[in-house]
């Protein structure tokens, strides 16, 4: 008679592997974490928080984002209210340079160190890049030295080089979901095309910001797959969004991700990405409410977007700043890296 194999507890393994050695969980291990029962969520979050403090430090990076070009996008990302292919109520709009300068100032006034300029496009054309160039110059002329990130879709090498020359220090381009699920979410371009842009961004010396959205019909295994694929990219930042079912999009009737499920994702992604800036992004207000956001901040998150998003509203920035103060989490200062 042989003894039954001993059950290995994934959080016990993570304590040694991730907390002590800084080695992220594998896809298979992440899946185990995502399958933990609700009563183990506090233990998971406590471990994830210790991992983030150990490998990233105590500071939180605060960012504001703004939509430079809203709506009318030719792509069919099924979660997005800015696609021109769906009957969404979002109309096209362009933010002028003075508006961009004001938005950057509002962001800097919160104590944020990052300001991300976003456009709903497949990739930037000459007009858009010109607007970005003029906007960045005007922000600097305004005496604002906030770090500037961009999210302008898929890039050519020439465009990557232009952004570097403009002083853009980080580029956001989300893979959105697991490679195996991506064709169900987007049909007008491929996961590989997005990855190619990320590769060029990295090689050009910009920081890579790449995350996605939870709650788009993916399985738990696909969430684990996504965490593994993100980890293999070694991004500087991973923004974690939770689906906001926006009217007119194919996902308008999708359920909101439940709080406990979302907390498991936060903890699991931190254990997969011990050294990465893990940012709370869109949908946290809907998924967590005020109380849950605190639990997330104490569960592995070390960055937030404050204020409004691109087309949806967020909490007032001051509410989040008050929350960070209450949690005794210092805000990262300009010139420091996490």
């Amino acid at each position: 008679m042989t003894a039954a194999p001993e059950q290995v507890d994934v959080l016990g393994v993570a304590r040694e592997q991730v907390l002590e050695r800084g080695v992220g969980l594998s896809e298979e291990q992440v899946l185990e974490v995502l399958r933990l029962p609700d009563d183990r969520i506090p233990e998971l979050l406590e471990l994830a928080h210790r991992v983030r403090v150990r490998w990233c430090g105590p500071e939180v990076e605060v960012e504001g984002i703004v939509s430079l070009k809203t709506g009318g996008c030719p792509e069919d990302c099924h979660f997005c209210s800015q696609s021109g292919q769906f009957p969404s109520p979002v109309r096209s709009a362009w933010l002028d340079v003075p508006g961009l300068v004001r938005a950057a100032r509002q962001t800097a006034d919160t104590g944020a160190t990052e300001f991300c300029i976003v456009a709903a496009v497949r990739g930037p054309d000459k007009r858009l890049l010109s607007q970005v160039r003029d906007g960045i110059k005007a922000i600097r002329d305004d005496g604002n030295d906030i770090q500037i990130a961009c999210s302008l879709g898929m890039l050519t090498q020439e465009q990557v080089d232009e952004l570097v020359a403009m002083g853009v220090h980080r580029y956001n381009h989300n893979l959105e979901t697991a490679r195996s699920h991506f064709p169900q979410v987007v049909t007008t371009h491929s996961w590989e095309e997005r990855r190619d842009t990320l590769r060029m961004v990295r090689e050009a010396g910009m920081e890579v910001c790449c995350g996605g959205i939870i709650g788009m019909g993916e399985t738990l295994a696909q969430r684990a797959e996504f965490a593994g694929q993100l980890a293999s990219l070694e991004p500087d930042e991973v923004p974690l969004n939770f689906l906001i079912p926006n009217p007119g999009t194919p996902y308008e009737n999708f359920p909101v991700v439940a709080g406990p499920e979302a907390l498991r994702v936060v903890g699991a992604f931190r254990l997969a990405l011990p050294r990465t800036i893990l940012r709370f992004a869109g949908g946290r207000e809907l998924t967590f409410g005020d109380l849950g956001a605190k639990r997330g901040m104490l569960g592995g998150i070390n960055a937030i977007i404050v204020g409004n998003y691109l087309t949806n509203l967020g909490r007032p920035a001051q509410d989040d700043l008050d929350m960070l103060q209450e949690l005794a989490m210092p805000i990262k200062e300009l010139g420091r890296s996490l």
Partner: protein, 66 residues
């Protein structure tokens, strides 16, 4: 902005035609108005980190309180 509010800013449907309590929640928590409350035209909306503006081609601009 001119004109009485007769349409829902979230869905554009006549306020008297149905219950809009779910729309009101979205407008309070998640969304700026997308439809003009006077004529139900889709508005051009610009969201910024600290607020929003919504413009109806017929009835003008409204802005967030914050």
């Amino acid at each position: 902005m001119t004109g009485p509010a007769v349409h829902c800013g979230y869905c554009g449907v006549d306020l008297a035609a149905r219950d809009h309590s779910a729309c009101a929640v979205r407008l309070r928590v998640l969304d700026p108005p997308r439809f003009c409350s006077a004529c139900a035209r889709r508005m051009v909306v610009q969201v910024t980190p600290a607020g929003w503006t919504a413009t109806c081609s017929r009835h003008g601009e409204i802005t967030s309180a914050r």
